[in-house]
């Protein structure tokens, strides 16, 4: 109750981990039971998608109205956590690149052939800044021509061959 009073003051409505119960529906979407109110489909928005993936997540209903904010995902019970993570992994879908099999710089574009945690994939990005975005010290966000995202969590941990491909661009 104390927390609630505080949040009313600062106008940030944090969801109570014990009161808000998230679940993945049969249809593959995220539902929320908040007290006696049930939302069949809620949307999630990360406030700091690069640095605090699992904190400050805005939960919104179908009209886009904010229901509340998840301050820290780890405060939630495991079932809720799992459902939220699943939903986030769709909304912010970005396979992690584990191996770079080929990377060619041709005609002003980079042609990638990679292995990710979701399988093998080939794609094309713009050369230079627009394609490869450093988002933290060793972390890269790669955005292809159609807007798909791929992530390299820590390029130092890639194998030598992959690194050799990446080297000229970082």
């Amino acid at each position: 109750m104390e927390v609630e009073g505080l949040s009313a003051l600062t106008n940030i409505n944090y969801l109570d981990p014990n009161e808000a119960v998230f679940a993945t529906t049969e249809g593959g979407l995220l539902s929320l039971q908040l007290g006696d109110k049930y939302y069949g489909k809620v949307d999630l928005y990360q406030a700091f998608p690069f640095s605090l993936e699992y904190q400050y997540i805005s939960v919104r209903d179908e009209k886009g109205e904010e229901i509340g904010i998840i301050r820290d995902l780890t405060e939630f019970p495991p079932q809720s956590q799992k459902a939220i993570r699943t939903e986030l992994s769709w909304r912010y879908y970005a396979p992690r690149i584990t191996r770079v099999l080929d990377l060619k710089d041709e005609f002003g574009h980079l042609y990638w052939d990679v292995e990710t945690d979701h399988g093998f994939r080939k794609f094309v990005t713009r050369a230079r800044e627009e394609g490869i975005n450093p988002i933290a010290d060793w972390r890269l966000l790669i955005i292809d021509m159609t807007g798909n995202r791929y992530e390299i969590e820590d390029y130092r941990r890639l194998d030598a061959k992959s690194l050799r491909f990446l080297e000229p661009y970082i």
Partner: protein, 772 residues
């Protein structure tokens, strides 16, 4: 409709095995993610009853490597971007949805993926997921499915969104999926011919130029021959053919140089003139093509960067013609000429000359690209450094205000360090590569001196030949090294040419009517039927718009900003085409009305007034260049602009934008109104036309407009609702739909959206009135 045009055969078979014949198919879409988020291709096929989902079969064991021959064989079979190591070129039916059980389907766009969602038994359900590139196709698919589910409305237009994603020739992905062009396989020769074809009128000068170049580079071959074979062997050697004729030999050499020089000058002159003209023509073509393109073409691109790109592409081509082509001709003549001469003089030595060439090629191919990359990196780090400096100097007040000087110095240092590091690498590489290159060429020199010297001593060859040989070495190695550059240069130029032709050839203009309907005198009845429109795929801006406006009616569009009012008038003026539904004027679809007739009779005054460089008169007469002075004055009087124009020193001939004659927002607006008045359109559109004008002037314009709207159909968007008192009807827009229609009084009585808007506005006005 040919649904199978780019569907692999194995999928076609699977569909037929399900007992669905091609005629029954209403749409097919393919997706690339399964419900676990793995890259797995699936085809969604809809007939009149159900949606069938066929997904790739998983390999029992993932391949470690795709064997080249499998790759080649299956290349066409695989859908670009799928995981061919974990999945086979086979599909199985994994899901089936009866259309009867579905509600509308819709596409939802997330940051990283797309989903098609529907409602089954009141439960939202994801039908499939896909990566971001598939949006256009999935949206089109959803439209068809919804049409089948609802069994009403207009049949969606043919789906043209599905395209090849991969170059059928080399298998590379197309860099830009909306542009099926493979930079590797564009036919460079045809392109080059096309560039040349721009210039039939320059055939003469170009032929002359090439001839001159060949002659002058052949003449360039003479000096080493003269100094070696002729002067040493024949002039200075006793018993030589021209013994002692040193003066003549020098004279001939000088003559050669003079001729070569004059040819060079001549070539330079023709070259500059011809290149300049070719580029002039090319730019003109691009510009007129760009004028034809539709607004959506420009929406998708940043106008500034488009202009830059076109300019730099044209510049690229110019360089290529001006420097690249001559360079190529001169170098090839030199290489061929020198080789022939050397072979003719002494084939044994010639073979030795070629020994270091592989090494030279190796260095130019392997090491130099690295150097170019470093150079471009240096350029980028420098640019970043400059922008840091720029930033903190322009923001110096903020820096000081927050006392963050140290932080700025740190930021600068880290960028500075990067520049330093790149500079170091370049230095290191430079000081390795070029001396090595010099050494290798020197090596060639040494081999010749060694072997040739031996030959001279043993009398097998003459000293003159040896001198000539060493003289030619540089003339061979240098061009060979340079020719490796020219390949890259050629590629990038043809890429530029390709982009330019793409604009010239672009069909991204609104389709021209096949049989334009001439409408010299529009009455002004405007009907919208089930209009839907979006600027970007997946974000509908207007939905289910229906209205019927009688000739001469004045209609006000009201609603919160972003509701779609301006978009609606853009559609009425056909700046964009509707996605579905139709807009008709006097019963004729505006897509079929002849362009001139439409634009001559639909006049727009927008909130932002764009005035071109030029006089006030020219600006007003922009849409009707043949207007008489009297017509212009009458129009400005209606727009209440006459008085202020008369007070300017140059009257109607005042040039806008010239120092001291910049106009205020309100004045510009009135010029824009005058522009529209002069056009005397049958349908007049005013989009917040009086927003920048003070209340007093607005009153005046208001009266003028009231006369003006008499007898013509008018659409007025106004932020100040009081402006719309005279409107026959108000259409209230909200979130892309018309939610209320009626007169001011009717709408106030309804106590809906309009009433709310109106009362808030009045309250705000009263408050500012009291407060002010």
């Amino acid at each position: 409709m040919d649904f199978y045009r780019d569907i692999p055969e194995y999928v076609q078979k699977a569909i037929e095995t399900e007992g669905i014949s091609q005629e029954q198919i209403r749409a097919i879409a393919h997706t690339d993610l399964d419900h676990q988020g793995n890259f797995r291709a699936a085809w969604h096929c809809v007939d009149d009853r159900s949606i069938y989902i066929f997904a790739q079969t998983k390999r029992s064991q993932g391949l470690r490597k795709v064997v080249p021959f499998v790759r080649r064989r299956e290349k066409e079979q695989f859908f670009a971007g799928t995981d061919e190591r974990n999945f086979t070129a086979q599909v199985e039916l994994i899901e089936k949805y009866e259309l009867e059980s579905l509600n509308r389907v819709r596409c939802e766009y997330f940051v990283g993926s797309i989903a098609i969602i529907t409602k089954i038994d009141d439960q939202e359900r994801v039908i499939c997921r896909a990566s971001k590139g598939r949006g256009a196709e999935l949206n089109a698919f959803c439209r068809v499915v919804n049409h089948l589910i609802e069994k009403s409305g207009h049949k969606p237009d043919e789906d043209k969104s599905r395209r090849e994603e991969r170059c059928p020739k080399c298998g590379r992905l197309y860099p830009d999926p909306s542009r099926p062009v493979c930079p590797n396989c564009i036919d460079k020769r045809t392109l080059f011919k096309r560039v040349l074809a721009l210039t039939p009128k320059y055939k003469g000068p170009i032929t002359a130029m090439v001839t001159i170049m060949i002659i002058s580079s052949l003449m360039g071959l003479a000096p080493p021959f003269m100094s070696g074979r002729i002067i040493i062997d024949e002039v200075l050697t006793s018993g030589g053919k021209y013994e002692g004729m040193i003066g003549q030999a020098i004279l001939i050499t000088v003559a050669f140089s003079l001729v070569s020089l004059s040819l060079g000058i001549l070539h330079g002159r023709i070259n500059s003139a011809v290149t300049a003209e070719i580029i002039y023509d090319l730019k003109k073509m691009i510009f007129s093509a760009m004028q034809r393109l539709s607004l959506s073409f420009y929406n998708k691109r940043q106008t500034g960067s488009l202009m830059n790109r076109v300019n730099s592409d044209a510049l690229d081509l110019q360089h290529f013609f001006h420097d690249g082509v001559p360079y190529f001709i001169v170098n090839s003549v030199q290489i061929i000429g020198v080789t022939c001469l050397l072979l003719f003089m002494n084939w044994r030595l010639t073979l030795l000359v070629f020994v270091p060439i592989p090494l030279i090629l190796f260095i130019t191919y392997k090491v130099l690209p690295h150097l170019w990359k470093l150079h471009s990196r240096r350029w980028r780090t420098n640019a970043a450094l400059n922008s840091v400096v720029n930033d903190s100097l322009t923001g110096i007040r903020v820096v000081k205000a927050f006392g963050k000087e140290d932080q700025e110095v740190e930021r600068f240092s880290s960028h500075n360090e990067r520049v330093f590091n790149v500079q170091m690498s370049i230095g290191r590489l430079n000081s390795t590569v070029f001396p090595s290159m010099g050494f290798i060429m020197g090596l060639g020199q040494l081999i010749i001196w060694g072997v040739g010297g031996w030959d001279v001593i043993s009398g097998r060859t003459t000293l003159g030949t040896l001198i000539t040989f060493t003289g030619y070495l540089g003339m061979l190695y240098q061009p060979i090294q340079q020719m490796t550059n020219i390949v890259d240069w050629w590629s990038s130029c043809m890429n530029s040419a390709q982009r330019i032709f793409e604009i010239i050839d672009s069909t991204e203009h609104l389709p021209y009517p096949e049989k334009p309907v001439r409408m010299p005198q529009i009455k002004g009845e405007v009907i919208a039927r089930d209009v839907e429109f979006s600027y970007e795929e997946g974000r509908p801006v207007l939905q289910e718009i229906n209205f019927h406006v009688e000739p001469g009616e004045m209609i006000g569009f009201v609603g919160p900003s972003g509701a779609g009012k301006s978009t609606m008038i853009n559609l009425i003026a056909r700046l964009y085409d509707v996605d579905s539904g139709a807009i008709t004027i006097d019963g004729v679809n505006i897509k079929d009305i002849a362009k001139d007739d439409l634009h001559r009779q639909v006049g727009m005054v927008l909130q932002e007034t764009f005035l071109f460089r030029g006089s006030i008169m020219e600006n007003i007469a922009y849409a009707k260049p043949d207007a008489t002075s009297e017509e212009i004055i009458r129009a400005t009087k209606i727009a209440n602009a006459h008085d202020f124009i008369m007070k300017l020193p140059d009257g109607y001939e005042t040039v806008i934008g010239r120092k001291g004659h910049d106009l205020s927002g309100g004045e510009r607006q009135r010029l824009a109104i005058a522009r529209a008045v002069l056009l005397d359109p049958r349908i007049l559109i005013l989009d917040e036309a009086t927003a920048n004008i003070d209340t007093e002037t607005e009153q005046l314009i208001q009266e003028a407009l009231e006369q003006l709207v008499e007898g013509r159909t008018t659409f007025v968007i106004a932020h100040r609702l009081s402006t719309l008192r005279k409107a026959n009807r108000l259409f209230v827009f909200d979130e892309g739909r018309i939610v209320e229609v009626g007169t001011h009084d009717e709408l106030m009585e309804r106590k809906g959206v309009y009433e709310k808007l109106f009362t808030t506005q009045r309250k705000a006005l009263e408050q500012t009135a009291v407060g002010g």
